[in-house]
Amino acid sequence: ALVGTAEFNPALSADSPHNGGDITFLIDSLGDTWIPNNSAISSFQGHIWGHVTDKLLYVDADGKVSPWIAERWEQNDTATEFTLHLKSGVTFSDGTPLDASAVVANLDIWYAGRKSEGINPIGLFPKTYDHAEAIDATTVKVFFKAPTLGFIPTLGYHGSILVSPKTLAQPAAQQADLSKTSGSGPYVVDSWKEGDFVKLVKRKDYNWGPPAVGHTGPAFLDSITYKLVSEPSLRVAAVQSEQADVAYNASPQELESLKAEGFTIATPRYLGFVNGWAINTKLAPYDDVKVRQALQAGINRQEIIDTVYTPDWKLATSFIQSNVPGATDQSDLLAYNPEKAEKLLDEAGWTKGADGIRTKNGQPLVLTLHSNPYLATSKSVDELIAQQLGKIGWKVAIRAYDVVTFGQKVKYGGPAVPAYEVTRSFIDAGTVASILTNANNGENWFALDESDKTLNELRDKIAGAGSIESRKPLLDELQKYILEQGYFIPRTQIVQRIYVQSPKLKGEVYNGVAYASYYTATKSE
Amino acid sequence: MASQDRLTELFARIDATGSALPQSAPLLRIDGLSVSYGQQEVVSDVGFELGRGKSLALIGESGSGKSTIARAVLRLLPTGGRATGCVEFDGQEVLGLSERRFRPLRGRAIGFVPQDPGNSLNPVRTIGAQAMEAAALIDEPNKAIRKTLILETFAQVGLDNPQRVYDSYPHQLSGGMLQRVLIGLAVLPRPLLLVADEPTSALDVTIQKRILDLLSKLQHELDISLLLITHDLAIAAERADALVVLKDGVVQEAGSTASVFSAPASAYARKLHADVPALNPDRYRALRDPAFRFLGTKADKAPKIEVSGVTKTFTVDGKVLTAVNDVSFAVQAGTTHALVGESGSGKTTAIRLLLGLEQPDIGTIAVAGEQLHGRSHESLRAVWRHLQLVYQNPFTSLDPTWKVEQLVREPLDRFKIGTREERTARVREALDNVGLGEHLLLRKPEALSGGQRQRVAIARALVLKPDVIVLDEPTSALDVSVQADIVEVLLSLQAKLGLTYVFVSHDLALVRQLAHTVSVMQRGRIVEHGTVTDIFGNPQQPYTRSLLESIPSGAAGIARAPHPQPRRIFNEERIA
C-alpha cells in the first residue's frame, strides 16, 4: 500500500517539469570512517548521511524543531521520561521496518557504542540516558537518570541518524563499508570509493520526508554524486565551467565575482557559537579583566568581513549565532574602539615601548593564536587581527597546526593557549551554559573552574529553567556577562559551510546545522 | 687493381676533373696544415708528402700533435677542433669537402688503426657485427661472401680461430687479438692509405713486434701506403721510409728515414735519438759502472735484500692463480737489480711482497737483515723508513688535493723527522736533487707534467734518505725524453748516495742502460738471472731471447743509411 502511494506522489505527476537529473557536489573531504556512530557528526559525512538516513525530528535553519519520523512526542514534568510516537510504514533500504525496536537499537548504540569493537558512542548524546523501551510498534519510551531538556533537540542534531538494526549488528569493519549501511533516507548509496566519491541514487518508494520542507514523497533528482576535490579553487572553477553543480567551501574572495556571474551562493549559518576565542583566564596577562576588555575592543570586526569575507558574513552580535533561539544583540559590547582598548591597557599597566609594543615589568604583551585547522579562513583572520592588535601595541604570534597536532596540543585552558578558537555548533542554547564551566563534565572553556560566582549562578538557573520563556532573560544576562568580562572574544558569525551552486539547480533546503539537502531540489536543463 | 678503380670512380663522382693524375703524384700531400682547439693552436703549418705504397712515420713526444694530424687527415677531429691548410688525397683537396662527400673516402680509401685496441671496438656488440660494417664497404652484395671475406681477413692478420673471434665480444679477446681485429677491419676494404696511430703503444713488447711485422707485411702485400704514428724513434726508423719529427705541433725535421735517423739535423731530433734506450745502451755507463764493484763483494758482505723461495697465490673466482712462484733473488747494497718480464709475469706482485704490502704464502724476505714477512703494517713502519717505493703511474700516486710541498713533506711529518725548519730544508734539498725548482712548491699535481709528477714522487721517496728504493716501472707512462731525464736523476743519486734500487720494467733496453743484475720473470717464475752483461750478451732461455728480439732497433733505417752508425753494437750483440 505504501509503495502504491509513492507512485501517485504529486512530484512524479506529469505536470512537474523538474523531475529527474543528476548532480555532482564537489566537496573538500569525505571524512574518515563510515561507521555511522563514528562519522555521523563529521562535517563532511553529514552531507551524505543527511540524504541516506532520516532523523526522528527535524530542526530547521532557525532552530525550530518539527516532526519527522517521530510524529509526536511527550515528556514528563521533570524531563526524565519521553515518549516518541513514530510514523508507520517507514522502512530502511534493506527492507527492515523502521519501528520502535529499531529506534531503541539506535538509541542504545548512540549512548553506549560498542567500545571494544571500536564503535564509539555519540559523544554529545545525553550521558543521563538510562534506557528505552518499545511500547508497541510505533511507540518508544525513553528514560533518563536526570532531567534532560536537551534530549528532544538532540534528536534533530546531525549525530542522531537512524540506521537499520541489521547494519548496527554488523562488526565495525563491515559498518565501515558505506555500501553495507542501510538508512531510511530518500537516497541510497549506489557506489563509493574511499577518498574519492560517493554516488547516491534516489529511493523510489520514499514517502516520509519531514513535513517542514513541504514535500514528503520521493526526491526529484535521480542521483547525487559527492566528489572529492581538495583544492577550493578547482571546485569553484569546475562549477564555473559547468563540470559540476555545487562547490562546497569556496574561498570567500571569489564569491563576489561568482555572484556576479549568476551563481547561487549560499552561506547558511549553523546554530551554535560564533567564531571567536574562549580566553584562558588562568594565563597572565589574560587573568586581568582590563586586558580582556581591551582585546574585545581592539578588534575591528567589520574589517575582517570586508577583507577576508564578504557581506554574506554577519557581524557577531553575541558569542552565539544570531539565528539561535535565545540569542540577543550585544553589538555595542563588540564595537571597535581602539582608543578605549589603549586606555584600558594603559590602566592595566601595559605601556608602549619604542618599538610600539606594550610591556609590563619587562614582559611584552603577547597573544599566541592557534589557527583553527577546521576553518580554512582562520589563518587569514588571525593575520588580519594581528595587524589590528599590532597597532595598539599587541604582539601576536600565530601557530598553525594540522588537525591532529591541533587536537594534541591545543586545548581549552591549555598552558600555552591563551585563546582557544571556537567553531562549534549546538542545537539548544540551553546546553551552552553547562559547557562553559567544569561542573557536570563541562568543558571549562575559560579555565574558571568554579571561581566565578555570577557565571555559576546563571548556569544553574538556566539548567533548572522549566520553560523556554523563563530561560530567555537568563540567557541574555549570560551573554552580556560573558562578553563584558571578555571571557569570549567573538570574531565573526561563522559560516562554516559555503555553497556555490549552478543557477540551474534550485530548491535545496538548509537545516539547523547548515547542511544542504537536495531532497527537494530540482535541476533544469 | 679493383680498389683503385673504385676509387677513381668515386672521385669521378666527387669531381669530374680530379681523376686524371699521374701515378707518380703523392697519395697524400699535406701542406700548411694548422689545427687549433678553441683558441689554442696545437699543430702549426705542418707539411709532408706520402707516396703510393710508401710509409711515413710521424714522431714526437706526447702532446706534440701527432694524433691531431692523423685525425685531421681523417677529418675526425673532436668537437672544438678546427683544421686549416691543405690536405690532398690522391690529388684531391679533401679538407674543404662536405662531410657527405668526404664520408665515402673513410674506410674505403683511408683506413684507420687506432692507438688503444681496448677502447676501439664497441663493447656491447660482437666483433662480427662490427666487421660487417667494414665489409659493407666492399661492393659485394652477398652477405655470406662478405662474411667469408671477413673470416679470411682475420686469418690473414694471424687470428687462429676466425669464427670464434667473429662471435666474440671485445672484452673476451686480448689486447693483441683486438689490435689484429682492428687492423683486419682497416685493411678489409683494401684502402689506399692506412693511418696507424701508435698501434702498439698499449701492448706488450713481444706482441708489439708481431703487430708491427704484420703491418709491414700487409703494407707490402696489399700495396697500401702507411702513415705510422709513434713516439718511438727506433720503431719509426725500423718501419718507415720517411720520418717527420714533430715538437709542439711544429715540424722539426723531415726527410728519408736514412737521413733523419743517421744524421739528424735538428737539435730536437738529435735529442730524441739520444734518449731512445735501445739506441744508446751505454749512455749512462759512467754513472752506472762504478757500482759494479759491489757485486764482487758477495762473499764478505750480506746482501742488502734477500728474497728466497717466495710464493704468492691469489684466488680469483674460485680459481687459484700463482702470481709469484718460488722466487729468489738477492741485491747487493749500492747496486740496481732489475726485474723484467712481460705483462702479468708477477713483477709487481714480487715487489709488493718485498715491501711487505702483501704477505707471501711461503718463503722469506729480508731487507738489511730484517725479516719482512709475516709482519703487520704497524710494525713495518720502521722498515719503510728505509725502504721506499716509486709507483709506475705518476698520475695516481700523488694525492691530487695536496700541494707539492705537502706531498714531499708528508713522510717527514709522519715519521716525525727533524724540526720544522729542518723538514723544510730537506724538502727543498730533495726537490733540488730531482731537479725541481722552488716555483713548483705550491702547485698541485694536476698542474704538473707527467715527468714532473714522477720526480715529485721520487723526491718524496728520497726525502727520508732511505737505503733502498723500489721502482715499479717508474717511466712506463712517460715518453722517452722524460724517461731519459728521470733515469739520469736516479743514476746520479745512486752514484752520489749509494742507494740500492730494485727496478721493475718490461723495457729491456732501459734495463740494459741502468741495471747491474737482472732477473727475468715469466709466469711468476724467475727463468733466468745474472749480471746485465751476461743476460744481454748471452741469454740462455728462449724466452729471454724472444724478449731481446722484440727490442726495436731502428735496423731498417740503419740498413738504408749510407754509413753504418757506431751504435749498432747493441744490435750485433743481439744477433750474436
Binding site: A237, E303, E383, A400 | L436
Partner: protein
C-alpha cells in the same frame, strides 16, 4: 742536461686553467641570481619599502604594477616584498637540509667505505632501507613525526637525502681508498686516521661538493612541496613554497602562484647550473 727543464705541458695547463675558470655567461648570470637571493635573505629591507606582514586590506588582490611588481595578496600585502622576506627562510631551510644530508650521509659513507667489513654491511643495509623508501614519502613521514614547520620540513628533507650522500660518499671513499696514493701514504708512515682525514676525506669530498650544491636546489623544491602540502610554517611566514601554496587558492589572480614560482624556478635553475659548472671544472 738541465734537469730543471719545464715542459711545454706547463704552458698548456696554464692556458687550460685559464679557460677552465673563465665563467660562461649563463653561469655568471646564475651566480648573480644566487647572489641576489642571498642578499634578499640577508637584508630584505634594502630591497623593498613595504611591510611583509601588514598590508593595506583595501588594496587586496591588485595585479602587478609599477608600485607592486608582483601584485598584492588577499590581505593587501605587496607580494614582491613577501617573496623578498621569505627568501631567508627558504634559503636557510634548504641549507639546513643540505648540511644534514652532507654531514650525516657523508659520515656514514666515509665510515662504511673506509672501514669496510661489518661496519660497511651495517651502514649499507641502513642506507638501502632509507633508499627503498621514496624520498618524498620519507620526508612527509618525518615531518609529521617532528611537527609541521619549515625548520622541521628542512630536517625531514635533510634526512631523506642522507642515504644519497652516504651512498655517493661511500663509493667515492672506496674509489679513493684503492687509489695508489693512499697505499703510498702507508709506506710514507701515515696512520689510518691520517689517511682517512687527510687523503680519503678531501678526495672523496670533491665530488660531494657539486652534489651538495645540486641538493641545495633540490631541497628548495622539496621544502616548497612540503609547504605546498601544508607542512610548512604558519602565517605570516612567506616561504616561497608557502606563497605558491596560498596562491593556488586564488587561481583567479594567477600572479599569486606564478611570481613566487618564477623566483623559485630561477633560483633552483641557477643553483643547478652552478653545480653543473662545478662538476665540469672539477
Amino acid at each position: 742536461m738541465t734537469l730543471a727543464s719545464t715542459y711545454s705541458t706547463s704552458r698548456v695547463t696554464a692556458i687550460g686553467r685559464l679557460t677552465a675558470f673563465r665563467v660562461p655567461p649563463v653561469v655568471a648570470l646564475s651566480f648573480a641570481i644566487v647572489a641576489l637571493a642571498i642578499a634578499w635573505s640577508l637584508a630584505p629591507s634594502l630591497f623593498t619599502s613595504y611591510d611583509p606582514v601588514n598590508g593595506v586590506p583595501a588594496q587586496k588582490l591588485l595585479g602587478p604594477s609599477a608600485a607592486h611588481w608582483f601584485g598584492t595578496d588577499h590581505l593587501g600585502r605587496d607580494l614582491y616584498t613577501r617573496v623578498v622576506y621569505g627568501t631567508a627562510s627558504s634559503v636557510a631551510s634548504a641549507l639546513i637540509a643540505v648540511v644534514i644530508g652532507v654531514f650525516a650521509g657523508g659520515l656514514i659513507g666515509l665510515l662504511a667505505g673506509f672501514f669496510g667489513g661489518w661496519v660497511d654491511t651495517l651502514f649499507a643495509r641502513l642506507v638501502d632501507v632509507l633508499l627503498a623508501i621514496p624520498k618524498f614519502l620519507l620526508a612527509v613521514i618525518v615531518v609529521t613525526a617532528i611537527g609541521f614547520d619549515t625548520t622541521n620540513a628542512a630536517i625531514a628533507t635533510g634526512v631523506s637525502a642522507v642515504a644519497l650522500f652516504a651512498r655517493v660518499m661511500r663509493s667515492e671513499v672506496i674509489k679513493t681508498r684503492q687509489a695508489t696514493f693512499v697505499e703510498s701514504s702507508f709506506l710514507l708512515g701515515g696512520s689510518r686516521w691520517h689517511i682517512l682525514w687527510r687523503h680519503v676525506l678531501p678526495n672523496a669530498s670533491r665530488s660531494v661538493l657539486p652534489l651538495a650544491v645540486l641538493q641545495f636546489g633540490d631541497s628548495i623544491l622539496v621544502i616548497a612541496s612540503l609547504a605546498f602540502l601544508g607542512y610548512g610554517d604558519p602565517p605570516p611566514a612567506s616561504d616561497w613554497g608557502l606563497l605558491i601554496s596560498i596562491g593556488k587558492d586564488y587561481l583567479k589572480w594567477p600572479w599569486l602562484v606564478y611570481a613566487p614560482a618564477f623566483v623559485t624556478i630561477a633560483t633552483v635553475l641557477s643553483v643547478n647550473r652552478i653545480s653543473r659548472w662545478l662538476r665540469k671544472t672539477d
